[in-house]
Point group: D2
Chain length 253, copies 4
């Protein structure tokens, strides 16, 4: 938390489709990060401060200082996962283990940082027909904070299909499962504890559909940000290999 | 295991619909337990010995001796959950904690024994239109033994809908998720460790549809039986509250 | 939450040892519930309102109204588990599934309500030598809210030994593991989601040792209360079996 | 499985201490891999075929063919984690996701492959006094196959201390917890599902103590190998990102 008590959120967007594709520009004139920020501000108001970071910035806008001042990072990428520098991925990874929250959105499932944190391939089935298809999102953990205040189910009229098998570790907490018109299912809201940090993957959202303008989806993302920001300050340090410093640990005579 | 090395399976069926309803008799002339047994024998052959037990028998066919000689119990009930004697439920419960496997099928979700083991209400959404609807079952844990040898996905043409929220504890291992034509989803294959015993809930199967004749479903049930029977003999005794007998536990000087 | 925004906590104490045993009266002149309340008030201040309930009251102080006005219930029992009326247990159970938090303390592991929620025997090893022995409590999930602000490890100088095998379902979140002088270990801080409610079991604390006066232990209990009170209002109703009301569920054409 | 039905095990040993250090040579004249193999053969007999691979071999003995013919790989490393080629790590990682079992031993917690699979730092506390100290290993999941046939508890007279916080993802199945003389605890037997493969981390074992000669420890390692080899052949392919090939997935009209 910042001195002001605000949750400091950095919305990271690859920001490639948003600039390059006419369709995407029309749906997200302020970029997807703009729509995500609008939702956070509406839902969380003054309890949150938002900044943006994009791929094109130096160090992708994710310098050590920027991360140090970030309580929760949201991640959207798709066309340029490989362009994210390994050094930045290392830094984000380390920061998550030390307590920063991370909310990975949609095609971010295949980002370097998510695959690093999961340790699996993070592959999935997908289908992207023109016009998309209906996604129905069911809460399977109704008291979980990331499901607060949303209808059962949430219906997205037009969305790209993401289907199982989704190669992720079994979620520590599974909150949402989606169905699609083809009969596919997908674990669409997955929570993880990694080191002292919390990670959520939330799949709805796509550059060619106005999903990030949908209030229920904005509400879930706000919930994810709040939940990831609610990890307690760690009472132990996971990021260094504890060595001889503990040799004289007082419990051993 | 019996002396012969066979897995000893008791197929428990309430056996009410099977006798009372003409439709059910036509689909399951040997009762649902007969169809389940056929599948087990085809899939597991001589490695399994099968006996039946039904509600109408004394102690529902689940005497202390019968349970002692059972490695895995399968459970189907629907119309008469309340007729199952609490004493028998206690006995089955205790036997599971001591290592017997339990495979709970379909409407067995609301049986006394499943609710006892889960500790939750085990309620769910359901819809049973005439003719049923398509269920599509997806494996989300592709190396799990209960998913061995089945297609991805399994399709059941006609089935009753079971939907979320299904009030169960988060499964220790979630293997199958189903979708239905209405867009609903359901955690249809759920594994639990309870005491020294293994429990699986597998939802497909209904008295008015020939689901238990479908080879893929028979295969999954056989897989469930084999997996539940694969728990190791416990190296500790959970069923008695250890008391002063451990006062002189040698590790304490 | 109450209208005032306060978390409404009911501290339930069997209150048998506290009145009957001279030793216990000297250590806990206000009863263990008094010491627990002192800790909650110090740690959570005005954000919490506390009331007491004990076995000897009508309906053990846990009427439907009392539970309706309770966000989190803490439970201490030992000598009189069997005296708790089944009807009250049913009521508490149902209220947990509908979202009330429950913090079960020490010998409450063998209470009716905990065993009902867990579905297992909840037995364990124990040893209670005069003078007790050192318990060392390690955090294995350092960002979890119930571990906030406590040292790594917490040391209790004099405590009764509780050891494995503890017959509980695998915790949804395991936060604390304790060791004892005899070399035993125990899963001492276990979190569960059940229905829409959160449940924590925290083992330290005993009637003959001043554990509930120890500030770190009071802090953990306050953390548990705050965490259990942080479940979101459920967006689905688990406590009734959904029936034909869903037949015309709009998602199905 | 090989054609013969044998489980094909590759025991990988860094084999640095074993050759370099006189003490280690005396305790493990055939290398630690030799002692591990002796245990596997005694416990699993003809149902297993064993080969060795070490760091100094070309591609560390882990060529594509070697891995293809391996059902379960065990991993011991300590002094030369950084010398393991990234290309080999990638290959092992991919093979695990496709179904090969992996048993990571002791200081292998800090190997590249384990850290890759876990996605966390995998750091821990440790202390290695001359003569070591007593480790007591408790089973907390008494029906789990990796605990089959071992005493409750297992006692190792002389062992290096490994203590929490151990920065791993919450285990999918936690089977063993250890205590040490200093009062530390450690999650010493941790099971994971990753892709279609099973992974176990088992911490006991050290180059300067004869732990791998201890029959109970050999039994647990044999159990781990058998369990990791028991994953079913995957019914879905996690290692390739499914793309447009699924566009015409038949479930969508």
């Amino acid at each position: 938390m910042g001195l002001s008590g605000q949750l400091r959120v950095t919305i990271w967007n690859e920001n490639v489709h948003d600039q390059r594709d006419e369709t995407v520009r029309r749906i997200y004139p302020k970029g997807m990060h703009g729509a995500i920020a609008d939702g956070l501000r509406r839902e969380l108001g003054g309890s949150v401060s938002v900044r943006f970071a994009t791929l094109e910035e130096p160090e992708h806008g994710l310098t050590a200082e920027a991360l140090e001042e970030t309580d929760v990072l949201t991640w959207w990428g798709h066309a340029a996962h490989d362009k994210v520098a390994d050094e930045v991925v290392d830094r984000v990874h380390s920061r998550v283990l030390n307590g920063m929250g991370l909310v990975v959105l949609h095609s971010g499932h295949y980002s370097k940082i998510f695959r690093r944190l999961m340790g699996t391939s993070c592959t999935l089935r997908w289908r992207s027909d023109e016009g998309g298809e209906r996604e129905v999102i069911w809460t399977v953990n109704p008291g979980h904070p990331i499901a607060a205040g949303v209808p059962q189910p949430i219906v997205i009229p037009h969305q790209e299909m993401y289907g199982e098998f989704f190669d992720i570790p079994p979620p520590d907490e599974l909150v949402f499962i989606s169905s699609f018109e083809g009969g596919e299912v997908f674990r669409s809201g997955c929570c993880y504890q990694r080191g002292a940090g919390r990670v959520v993957y939330f799949s709805p959202g796509d550059q060619v559909f106005p999903v990030y303008h949908q209030p229920e989806i904005q509400r879930v993302i706000a919930n994810c940000v709040a939940w990831c920001g609610g990890a307690a300050p760690a009472n132990d340090v996971p990021s260094q290999r504890a060595g001889n410093a503990t040799r004289n640990w007082y419990l051993k005579a």
